[in-house]
């Protein structure tokens, strides 16, 4: 029997019950959501299970939803089962006031870089990360530039006249 999305969903619901929710399959990619306290348990279960075998962390990133009160920051995990060539994706949500999420570095070494990058751009505080500091931006930067409240353009510039750019 090949590994199907229905089977993965069924296994997850058997194991975690109400803790996993929001299952959908956009373009055939099984996506779901779990609570942020549960993220490592889900990762570990998907890793250890003899049938599921999601043992490759493709990507880890964050999204900022400023209008979604209490769950502004989503941390997204992309996993790959290299044996059956199946990918899944799941999200955990954290409030922007206290964006603490457990680190995945104990399970995936690859998460080290990605969590540092996610911290750098979104300020997600990965609890237990061995070296959580900025990686791509300058160390002096005192904000998280990909959060939606920060405009893309450099706000310290004084030489750009808005009239010249048709937005006066």
């Amino acid at each position: 029997m090949s590994l199907t999305n229905e089977y993965i969903q069924q296994r997850l619901q058997e194991k975690f019950g109400e803790q996993v929710s929001g299952f959908e399959e956009p373009y055939g990619l099984l996506s779901f959501e779990t609570t942020k306290a549960n993220n490592i348990k889900v990762l570990q279960f998907l890793f250890d299970d003899e049938v599921l075998r999601f043992q490759f962390l493709t990507d880890l990133c964050a999204v900022h939803y400023p209008d979604d009160k209490g769950r502004e920051l989503a941390v997204v995990y992309h996993l790959h089962n290299l044996v059956d060539n199946i990918r899944i994706r799941f999200k955990v949500f954290a409030p922007v006031e206290q964006p603490d999420v457990y680190t995945a570095t104990s399970l995936y070494s690859a998460a080290n870089w990605m969590e540092r990058e996610t911290y750098d751009f979104y300020g997600v505080n990965f609890v237990g990360h061995p070296n959580l500091k900025r990686i791509l931006n300058v160390d002096e930067m005192d904000y998280f530039p990909l959060r939606k409240e920060f405009p893309l353009e450099d706000q310290t510039r004084i030489d750009k006249d808005d009239e010249m750019f048709g937005r006066g």
């Binding site: 931006n137 530039p145 893309l152």
Partner: protein, 196 residues
């Protein structure tokens, strides 16, 4: 149909007697067997016609610079045959491309490692002003961290523009007083960048 080169029926005679650029002689008095001028002019003549550029190329302007160095545009016509890839040997820092804020200290370090006299040519919109990258990660012009002598506009500038900028640097070097680098004005300029 275009004719292959080996069937060129009107070969050009090589003229090696009348087309070699000779640097103009400085003002002075001379006669048979001697020539006298000021030391400053001789030094300026030497500096102007043997600038050693240090290419600091980070993006597409660097590609234009490669064309500038190659045979069609030929930077070595201006006495810059020798590009140095160590700042300690070079006179002219050519910054070509986007400098991110994180690279700023590196560029500054390279500038500090150059010996006086040193000049800086900022090639292209990104190096001069940040260009289209008006964003949190890009330095909005290298003149925020090091003094710049000549700016070349363009995105990217044509090799002719880079050559023009280079010739303006030559003009500066050719007319610079030997004492300029010791002057209060120059020290104040470097001081405004926090250098010494």
């Amino acid at each position: 149909m275009p004719r292959p080169v080996r069937f060129n029926v009107t070969p050009k005679q090589v003229d090696i007697h009348n087309n070699i650029a000779i640097a103009e002689m400085p003002e002075g008095s001379g006669g048979e067997g001697y020539f006298a001028t000021s030391l400053e002019k001789v030094v300026a003549l030497g500096r102007k016609n043997s600038l050693w550029p240090l290419p600091f190329a980070t993006s597409c302007c660097g590609i234009e610079f490669m064309a500038t160095m190659a045979s069609t545009y030929d930077l070595s016509r201006f006495g810059s045959e020798r590009l140095g890839f160590t700042p300690r040997q070079c006179d002219l820092l050519m910054v070509m491309g986007t400098i991110s804020k994180k690279m700023g200290p590196v560029l500054r370090q390279v500038y500090l490692q150059m010996a006086e006299p040193r000049w800086v040519l900022s090639v292209g919109a990104c190096a001069s002003s940040g260009g289209i990258f008006d964003t949190y990660s890009v330095l909005q012009g290298i003149d925020q961290i090091i003094p710049v002598d000549v700016y070349v506009p363009g995105c990217p500038p044509r090799p002719e523009a880079i050559l023009d900028g280079f010739m303006r640097i030559q003009e500066l070097t050719g007319n610079e007083s030997l004492r300029r680098r010791n002057s209060e004005h120059y020290k104040a300029l470097l001081g405004s960048y926090g250098i010494q």
